[in-house]
């Protein structure tokens, strides 16, 4: 199969999956009535449902932005295949990337459930809850200006650079690269993700 065709298929798949995820989210949101939209950090969900929604959110938001990296990875692997060398399916890379985001989702659920527990026990007022949300927004803003964010963003912005400096052969190499790239992506946006909790109900 010609490289350009493979490239288009992968890109189309990423876009279709992301579009499907957005459709689910909008459809869900339209189906909620006013008091279900009430704010709570876990959105009233148990862990499996929370994780499922988290992954759908992650796919909707991250697949379009991860596409250049995935395509660059595939181009290198396709080159190896063309030369008759061993190659690894691009999906190893994508699966590892998603695994890392799933782990972050589990952490987010733990944090949200813990926060909820404290809030109900302490009988927190709405104004205090909103101020905690404001503090989270401040943290997200400060992080955007931090050197760590600069470092992660620089890695995320240049797929070629990442391929050149962090390439690893084999299936486990692909998994490791997926995890590593996921970590830099997470480093770029984890606080932006968390800042969605106060603004979202």
């Amino acid at each position: 199969m010609a490289l350009i065709l493979q490239r288009n298929i992968i890109l189309a798949l990423l876009i279709v999956v992301a579009a499907a995820a957005w459709t689910v989210l909008v459809w869900q949101w339209l189906g909620m009535d006013a008091d279900m939209r009430m704010y709570s950090p876990t959105m009233g969900m148990k862990a499996p449902l929370f994780l499922a929604v988290w992954m759908i959110m992650m796919i909707a938001m991250m697949f379009p932005t991860a596409a250049p990296m995935v395509l660059t990875f595939h181009r290198v692997q396709a080159g190896k295949r063309g030369r008759g060398e061993t190659f690894v399916s691009t999906w190893f890379f994508v699966a590892a990337y998603m695994l890392l985001w799933g782990a972050m989702g589990a952490l987010a659920f733990a944090g949200a459930a813990g926060g909820e527990l404290i809030a109900t026990h302490a009988g927190m007022s709405a104004a205090t809850a909103a101020r905690i949300g404001g503090a989270l927004l401040l943290m997200a803003g400060a992080y955007q200006l931090s050197p760590l964010k600069d470092l992660c963003l620089a890695k995320c912005r240049t797929p070629i650079g990442f391929i050149l400096t962090s390439w690893r052969d084999g299936q486990w190499g692909a998994v490791r690269m997926g995890l590593e790239h996921g970590l830099f992506c997470l480093g770029c946006c984890w606080l932006l993700f968390l800042a969605l909790f106060p603004s979202g109900s």
Partner: protein
């Protein structure tokens, strides 16, 4: 979930990563978040999820 906020953050992340001026966009968004966060600290009503519990208690 707030679909509008999610869409804005998605666009922001996409712009940061792919546009030539992505790094500058990241800084600008940081300043905007700081301003918004400070506004919420002073006026909690500025957050779309603010629930005026006190009003309900008075009923």
């Amino acid at each position: 979930m707030n679909i509008a906020a999610m869409a804005v953050v998605t666009l922001l992340i996409f712009a940061e990563k792919t546009l030539p001026s992505g790094e500058r966009i990241a800084k600008l968004s940081g300043v905007a978040l700081l301003l918004y966060g400070a506004a919420v600290l002073v006026f909690p009503q500025a957050l779309p999820t603010f629930q005026p519990m006190e009003a309900m208690v008075m009923d």
